[in-house]
Point group: C2
Chain length 152, copies 2
DNA sequence: AGAGATGTGATAATGAATTATCGATATCGG
DNA sequence: CCGATATCGATAATTCATTATCACATCTCT
């Protein structure tokens, strides 16, 4: 999951030529998360691997990782954009109402929608895609009576 | 759908004592829409009934209508908040990828999710609620080859 | 190891949505 | 119909996320 894991052809671009501790910390943080992370979350977690990490560097690096197709942005209702690794296919997300964190659901659990894309609804609406978000309690918070705010 | 339709007990509060053309235009606009509206959309439509309507008045009135429980806010991924009348029960939304407008789906079409709330997923996630959004083409845009941007 | 370009961190600047201000206007009880 | 005042419209101010700036540190190639 370190340097050797990064495709040099993609990593190295006109604006992204050097491998630094900050960039690896940020990419590893996003890859190791259980779900999409916001900029503040990335900053907080990656700072443990890269002490003194600046917020501007997180914004810069996230933008570069988007441009080099290492990560993708995920938007949730009423929230700042979150980011997750690219290439995980169609899936849905789960938000824990207790610890407020987002989780990625397995593909097998994801496609819960009874009406597949391409269907025409009775009213004439043609469905081309869907977003499903589940809300509830993550395994940790569902077990604990007094849940903390520090999930995986 | 006019003045007589408004519960005076709810309409009249410490900060909302008078009935004005602007307030009725805004509430009627939200009630007559096919789906949730954003602030700019409310402003554009209500201005037809209340010429010269100011944007600040839309913000003010929407906030008051929220506080008096005449409307509710609906958030969509990556968008400004939208507003719809209160009391329409559980339903889902449809966004037309052609004209970019939101539609409210009938209740009978809404509950498309195969896993009902209260279910415990195999991983231990307890589902308490869900949001489903469908994307595609509204009846008007599905019919027209060159769709306009002025839906119902 | 050294030169030079790239990357970083702190912070100022920007941009967009929302809110506050204030003189003018319209509402509604009397 | 009048007067007190709630509300309006125009715009300045505020808030918050994101971006630009710049001096200093770090990486890479030789």
């Amino acid at each position: 999951m370190g340097i050797e894991d990064v495709d040099r052809g993609r990593w190295y671009t006109a604006r992204m030529q050097r491998q630094t501790a900050q960039r690896h910390a940020i990419l590893d943080t996003i890859r190791q998360a259980a779900g999409p992370l916001s900029i503040p979350q990335i900053h907080a977690r990656a700072s443990q691997d890269a002490p003194g990490l600046g917020l501007a560097t997180v914004y810069r690096t996230v933008k570069l990782l988007l441009a080099t197709e290492h990560i993708v942005a995920v938007d949730f209702p009423g929230e700042e954009p979150h980011y997750e690794p690219i290439g995980r296919g169609h899936h849905h997300h789960f938000r824990c109402l207790s610890c407020d964190h987002w989780f990625e659901l397995d593909r097998c659990l994801g496609c819960l929608v009874a009406i597949p894309d391409g269907t025409t609804l009775p009213d004439g609406f043609v469905v081309e895609a869907h977003h499903l978000t589940l809300y509830g309690r993550c395994p940790r918070c569902a077990a604990e009576p007094n849940p903390t705010a520090s999930p995986a």
